[in-house]
């Protein structure tokens, strides 16, 4: 068997695993290019390339998240294929971005296809409601993993198997100006990620912190970890004066008191939580979104509480309804939901309170979770991680991994148990009040980091040198006297302005690629290497 086929199978399997991991487990965040690029680098035996491509794509994709079922460019698969091709054709990481970005954009369509294909499993599950077959409903949810996984695995398999020859040939045929142009474009691509972040963060309120971050990175040459520490100090001060103490008191008040074992045991809770980690979003589809997964995850509770078939059918029907929230914040909702069903003394299923609780909480919790966990915490950790990875250090992705597995998982388990024991009201107030203040503080840290990102990760130099007789005028040196990193600042400003003018991010990224090539060919910008 030839090596390409083996590699195609290995990388396709990894693509399959990574989308499942990103939907459910969330220990590694394999939905992000930094993480898939790193692992692909290890698999193809070229870690350096994997780190560079993963990090470059990550920086271009900062601020791109999926909310409530919107599909985004599949940068994670783009990083897998991009790393493989760059290694095969000995492309520079920046030039390989010219390949990875279009791949990511194309694969978006398959993401949409997977979400549609799961409708089939959803409707099969609906058919099992009649016979109240909880096991088969759960199975349908798990089978959704196939649509998701194959939507990544198939294109990766064929890309690797059939693509590597033509890609190598194409790269060999490519004129030098195009490769140089792509390299220049790769150097300015992070401007998109930065501009998207600036649109998410409260710039108008906290812009001074952006300036501080920029100054220490551009003038004092402090690296990004240092900038993040400075941001942390500023955020802590603001948080303290904005009344952070009282949040700590609420947290102390929420300490668990051992409750008497009711009908639901600790073992049941663990079963639900494990299913939530493994399968919660596998059956995601456009019609009910997380509804199928929710019914599957909570079915141990239905088995335990409703021996009567009629009541169980009602419970199953209710839980199969539309549901969608932030995947981490689903944990406290599940916990509170179990408590409500356990405390119900009536023989019927407490449909009104369960539906009220689920529909009442999913929206607000999605808002809190998306802004806090995905928009802010991820941004800070990933920009530091990607900037370390750009320098060829595996410490970057390792930091991201540790943060994800410890912080995300601890929050999920803690909030699940606390909501079960103490009810949703307290957890809501606690999570809301605390997360909101934390979000504010984290925004300050985020802005400082973004200020530091501009001069450190947009990598480009003015190539134009002015000759007049024997006078040689190096334009870059002149610009540095006005403001270090003036060109990166201008490019970020340009993209930010374009995005405010409703230019879609997809067009913005293609525009940056073209702009990079054009400016490189015109001899205005170059990649400094």
């Amino acid at each position: 068997m030839d090596g390409t086929i083996v590699m195609a199978i290995v990388l396709a399997a990894f693509g399959f695993f990574s989308i499942w991991e990103n939907l459910n487990l969330l220990f590694f965040q394999f939905g992000r290019p930094l993480m898939t690029g790193t692992v692909t680098g290890i698999l193809v035996g070229d870690l350096k390339t994997g780190l560079a491509i993963g990090a470059t794509l990550e920086l271009a994709a900062l601020g791109v998240y999926t909310y409530g079922g919107a599909s985004i460019p599949d940068y994670a698969s783009g990083a897998i294929l991009g790393t493989y091709f760059a290694n095969q054709a000995s492309l520079s990481p920046q030039a390989a971005i010219g390949l990875a970005v279009p791949i990511a954009l194309l694969l978006t369509q398959l993401d949409i296809l997977a979400r549609m294909a799961n409708l089939f499993f959803q409707h099969r599950a609906d058919a099992y409601v009649k016979s109240v077959d909880l096991r088969r409903v759960g199975l349908m949810n798990m089978l959704g993993t196939l649509s998701w996984g194959l939507s990544r695995a198939i294109p990766i398999f064929f890309g690797v198997w059939l693509g590597s020859g033509p890609v190598k040939a194409a790269v060999n045929e490519s004129p030098q100006w195009l490769l140089d142009g792509l390299q220049t474009a790769g150097g300015i691509l992070p401007a998109l990620g930065i501009a998207m972040l600036l649109r998410l963060l409260p710039l108008r309120q906290y812009w001074p912190f952006l300036v501080v971050g920029f100054i220490v990175a551009a003038y004092l040459k402090v690296n990004l970890v240092g900038v993040a520490l400075l941001g942390l100090a500023m955020a802590a001060l603001v948080y303290r004066y904005a009344g952070g103490e009282e949040a700590a008191n609420v947290a102390a008040a929420a300490e668990e008191e051992p409750a008497a074992e009711g009908r639901i045991t600790r073992r049941d809770l663990r079963r639900v939580f494990l299913r939530y980690l493994l399968w919660f979003q596998s059956g995601w589809n456009y019609e009910r979104m997380q509804g199928l997964g929710y019914a599957h995850v909570i079915s141990p509770v239905m088995e335990k509480l409703y021996p009567d078939e009629g009541v169980r059918r009602q419970a199953l029907t209710t839980h199969l309804q539309f549901f969608n929230t932030n995947p981490l914040m689903a944990a406290p909702i599940l916990g509170a939901n179990i408590a409500v069903e356990e405390k119900n003394e009536e023989p019927e299923f407490p449909e009104r309170s369960v539906t009220g609780l689920k529909t009442g909480m999913m929206g607000p919790f999605a808002g809190i979770g998306d802004s806090f966990f995905f928009a802010i915490c991820n941004t800070i950790v990933f920009s530091v991680g990607a900037s370390l990875a750009l320098k060829g250090s595996i410490v970057g992705p390792v930091i991201v991994f540790l943060y994800t597995i410890i912080f995300f998982t601890a929050f999920r388990w803690w909030s699940f148990v606390a909501a079960y024991r103490r009810g949703v009201r307290l957890v809501g107030q606690l999570a809301g009040g605390m997360l909101r203040r934390l979000t504010d503080a984290a925004s300050i840290l985020g802005l400082a980091v973004v200020g530091g990102l501009i001069p450190t990760i947009i990598n480009t130099k003015v190539a134009y040198v002015f000759h007049s007789g024997r006078v040689k005028l190096n334009l870059q040196d002149q610009l540095d006297n006005i403001l270090p990193a003036l060109v990166p600042v201008l490019i970020v400003a340009l993209v930010y302005f374009a995005l405010s003018r409703r230019v879609r991010p997809t067009w913005a990224i293609l525009g940056l690629l073209v702009l990079g090539v054009v400016l490189s060919v015109a001899g205005i910008l170059k990649y400094p290497g």
Binding site: E287, M361, G432
Partner: protein, 162 residues
Amino acid sequence: MPVRHVRIDERLIHGQVTVRWTREVGADLILVANDEVAADEMQKMLLPLSAPSGVKTEIVTVEEAAESLKSGEASRRRTFLIVKRPADVIRLLDSGVQIEEINVGNMSHREGSKQVKRSVSVTPEDVEAFRELDRRGVRMTARMMPEEGFKSFMEYLPGVAG
């Protein structure tokens, strides 16, 4: 001052709204108009928690919203109005609120509803209400996220029984 942006969204204030739309619209007040939610203590407590900092939230009945939009706080602020159903937009118009344009963001699947767009399912009553809004000259777009195009929502409805 007419309202900044009117959105139909089943989930009211959630990620798409807090992270993207509020800033896109430049709003400083999110006004949620829904009779059931205004009567539900739990939702009233939870919904404001997710609003971005510096943005005020009000959760009121449709009637109260109409008052606020005509002569109350919402008429003086940069208001982002969110309702769950097109029928509630008609009620607002009937109480004399000026609405020129609405955006249909998310309407989830329900008993008897039909999917007309990736994030929008409508019941026959909804379709009737949309046609009525169209007759009254209200412009309608269907943008779940700000990047989407301004295609008229009515173009999604032909062939749907109403």
